[in-house]
Symmetry: C2
Subunit: 414 residues, 2 copies
Amino acid sequence: MKVAIMGYGTIGSGVAEVLRVNQDQLQKKVGEPVTLKYVLDIRDSIPEDADKLINDFSIIENDEEIKLVVETMGGIHPAYEFVKSCLEKGKHVVTSNKALVDAFGSKLIGIAKEHHCNFYFEASVGGGIPVIRTIYHNYAGENLTEITGIMNGTTNFILTNMREKGADFDEVLAEAQRLGYAERDPSSDIDGFDTSRKTAILLSMASGNRCRHEDIYTEGIRNISKLDFEYAKELGMTIKLLGSVQQVEDKYFAYVVPMVVPKSDPLFSVDGVFNGIKIVGNCLGTTMLYGMGAGKLPTASAVVSDIIAAVRHQDEFQGIGWSEKMLEIEPMGSNAFTYLLRVEGTCEEIKDDLKEFFLEDSELKPVILNGRTDEFAFITDVMFESDFLDNLKAFEEKTGRRIIHYIRTEKEEN
Amino acid sequence: MKVAIMGYGTIGSGVAEVLRVNQDQLQKKVGEPVTLKYVLDIRDSIPEDADKLINDFSIIENDEEIKLVVETMGGIHPAYEFVKSCLEKGKHVVTSNKALVDAFGSKLIGIAKEHHCNFYFEASVGGGIPVIRTIYHNYAGENLTEITGIMNGTTNFILTNMREKGADFDEVLAEAQRLGYAERDPSSDIDGFDTSRKTAILLSMASGNRCRHEDIYTEGIRNISKLDFEYAKELGMTIKLLGSVQQVEDKYFAYVVPMVVPKSDPLFSVDGVFNGIKIVGNCLGTTMLYGMGAGKLPTASAVVSDIIAAVRHQDEFQGIGWSEKMLEIEPMGSNAFTYLLRVEGTCEEIKDDLKEFFLEDSELKPVILNGRTDEFAFITDVMFESDFLDNLKAFEEKTGRRIIHYIRTEKEEN
């Protein structure tokens, strides 16, 4: 099969490299050579594959020999127009572009179906972690009740370092930028938008319907501090930025928030730039897929797994994806969490108030760091987020005590 | 599609349950109902699905309506004869029977190919962990340099408890038997044979050629003691029973042994009855798949994922499997490890000997537990196993000091 790569940045050049390095293995497994014919890029020269460089998309579009196009340009335009045009000509398209999949996934899947070719996007979530295909192949018969993941290496690197070094956010972010793990403008990572797009794709895969990342409640990690980690540590827990999707009967819940995670959760041990995606099924129980969620070669490897699928399904639409029907996500307020709550002062005089607003069922177990008297923390009962926010306000008004910070907390499994 | 289940034990009845509980989800995903028609069992009555119970295999064999047969009988005979006969009639077969896959996998895959149907075995390794299909779909383009797994829940439960409770092997085995996590005759688990069969299947998947578990060097966990764990803990490490497959150029290595595992390995945190399978690819880097490796419903869920594949590939042989060609595994002596070595006495008078036989490149860093003088431990340089065993003997002869125990050790990644 002859292929073209559109966009020769980190991922695109990585795909060319994987095709080159693993060509024998690839040919052995799919029964025919996979040959790179064109590289489309706006640049005039590229270090490798220079003989394949073109600047004009119409060459790819009009070359009937090209049966598969890899889209690694990033961004939505003109990626969308190029991909659409390839699919309409019956060329398979493989992408690593989560923004494109989030914005136009269902549309492009529909076009692929109409033209008996495939639109694949394994690399758009979790890099080398085989999550899209696992949901499609292995867990299609499961009622998936939860998918929760650490899906952004930059934020996980920052949080891991904050925990290990007892350092504050700004300090670790600066280091991550120095090491190249964080962008100069880190907003897309640390404000959770990258995770939110991936969460939207997983929700679409799990539900079979379309959802938009704009509809997913999203908080980043800018407000997580050294002290938050000290409390979490004291409780034997840690803090992770999680994208989560949950299904209860026919209702869907989804959010991206930093959460306090207990040791019993397999995501607890997913550290540094690694990603982990936990999948819970009604029969399956809990599984987790762990690996490099980003990076040139791991992501390129996922792109190549899609190329293999395209060769194996050359003449048929395989149907990995979801419908155009819009999914309704339940409002954030209807999620239930426990909360790690940091409160001003000491707990002595406000025990009854804490009980009234946050601890109907359980005893107050205050966590006090090194005998401090300016604040303490505790974990609330399970509460609906809307009730929690109401009670937070009512508590502050009644007691005059400020809530310094709260972080949603996973209940420890017994 | 109409299906039959052969063998209504734990897994077989679990498959019937998953088909019942998730039938709507299943039909939605594969586009047609999957209906259980027969249950073959030697018993005269079964608690559920009693109306489907038959005792005569020929009914399944001769019913043209049955397009798929689930084999959950266990054992090799008559499972092999039944499966063979079904495949020869063009019926897809799905099995959870690792002994069958290990002994006759390539033969049955060949028969399936000849009759344009499929022989699937996702449930034979790692229960609900999607390892077979991940190797086939996602990592087909990778040069897989290593697959190493904790693939037996019983031994992992025992080792986890030895570590956490500081208890000795016999004590924890008895508890595991009381809780139903270990069989009355636990040999297949604790002597490593179960892991060895799974390792053989993974090696066959990775290499594309046939191998037999009898050719894989296998040690169990009977000799692991409380003290071994104390040394491992002191080093910030733990002990796990690992099945491992490695490829270096065109040479294949495989073994099942208890190993000292550092914290940097994702398998370090796989505890209790959970399983974890680490896969390393030349481009992919390190990934790990984690989940319930056994148990009624997780294993049944994996069987159902194969049923889904069979419905999706009704009229074609998909080619998940390996050839009849026999793979040669390199001898155990040609593997290189570091070793945690427990030596009689104190290290003072034998420092030069230790250096001569075990520490060419690095300094001796003895680990001494609570000021003991009857023994100490240390970690050797990387050595070929054959050299190590020679040196062990030479060291004992020269110094008159006994080596109390050694455990192969994974090198800490930096």
